[in-house]
């Protein structure tokens, strides 16, 4: 009975979080804000569904399965990478480097620095001429 309540609660929580994540994606006004909802809320939603499935197969069916943990680990590893890439794409497509706040150093933001410029600065730093 307690296990049933636990499984049902995690299923309901996962459904609500999945819905909130996708609703935030169509509701929020700014592209960078829209990045927040799916990368956090939907990941939590799918985690809840996988926890419910793990509890169900252990307590009701009677077999322990680790596949859910593998899927959860994979999603938690890949969600930040995809979020980072989507934010970078948005930044490069819609913003100029002059729109961004100053970095406080001589170098520009790392995403906008050209390869030749980076190699030149790093070679100079290795030679010990200039501080980074």
């Amino acid at each position: 009975m307690l296990v049933e309540i636990l499984i049902s609660v995690s299923l309901v929580i996962s459904g609500i979080f999945g819905l909130v994540g996708s609703f935030g994606m169509i509701k929020l006004p700014d592209p960078m804000m829209r990045l927040h909802a799916p990368t956090k809320a939907t990941t939590l939603g799918v985690g809840g569904a996988l926890i419910a499935s793990m509890l169900y197969f252990y307590f009701v069916v009677g077999q322990l399965s680790f596949h859910e943990l593998m899927i959860t680990l994979f999603l938690f590893l890949t969600a930040p990478i995809t979020g980072h890439f989507i934010a970078k794409t948005h930044l490069h497509l819609n913003h100029k480097p002059s729109d961004l706040p100053p970095t406080g150093t001589e170098r520009p933001w790392a995403s906008y620095e050209s390869d030749a410029e980076r190699q030149r600065i790093e070679a100079a730093a290795e030679a010990g001429d200039t501080p980074r």
């Binding site: 309901v12 939603g45 419910a52 596949h67 994979f74 969600a79 794409t89």
Partner: protein, 89 residues
């Protein structure tokens, strides 16, 4: 009680998929479209996990693992293509 919670979660993730399709069709830019496709993959994984609970088999976990990998690779290659104009340099 698990049955009712299961169908609640099914309807929530189904609605979420519909919202993702709306965002793919009615998108202000390519970044949002990639984000909607990525969210769609995650919602599909959740639906597959719920379907596994409904049917009582663990066969769907391999399917969701493969979908997770394919979704990650496709998101990364789409963003790489937009950023660099090339996927494998």
């Amino acid at each position: 009680m698990i049955g009712y919670a299961l169908f609640f979660a099914f309807s929530c993730f189904g609605l979420a998929l519909l919202m993702n399709i709306y965002r793919i069709v009615q998108s202000p830019g390519p970044g949002d479209r990639i984000l909607a496709l990525d969210t769609m993959v995650v919602n599909a994984i959740a639906l597959l996990a719920l379907f596994g609970i409904l049917k009582g088999t663990t066969i769907y976990f391999e399917v969701s693992m493969i979908i997770a990998m394919t979704g990650f690779i496709s998101t990364v290659s789409y963003t790489r293509f937009l950023l660099r104009g090339d996927i494998i340099e």
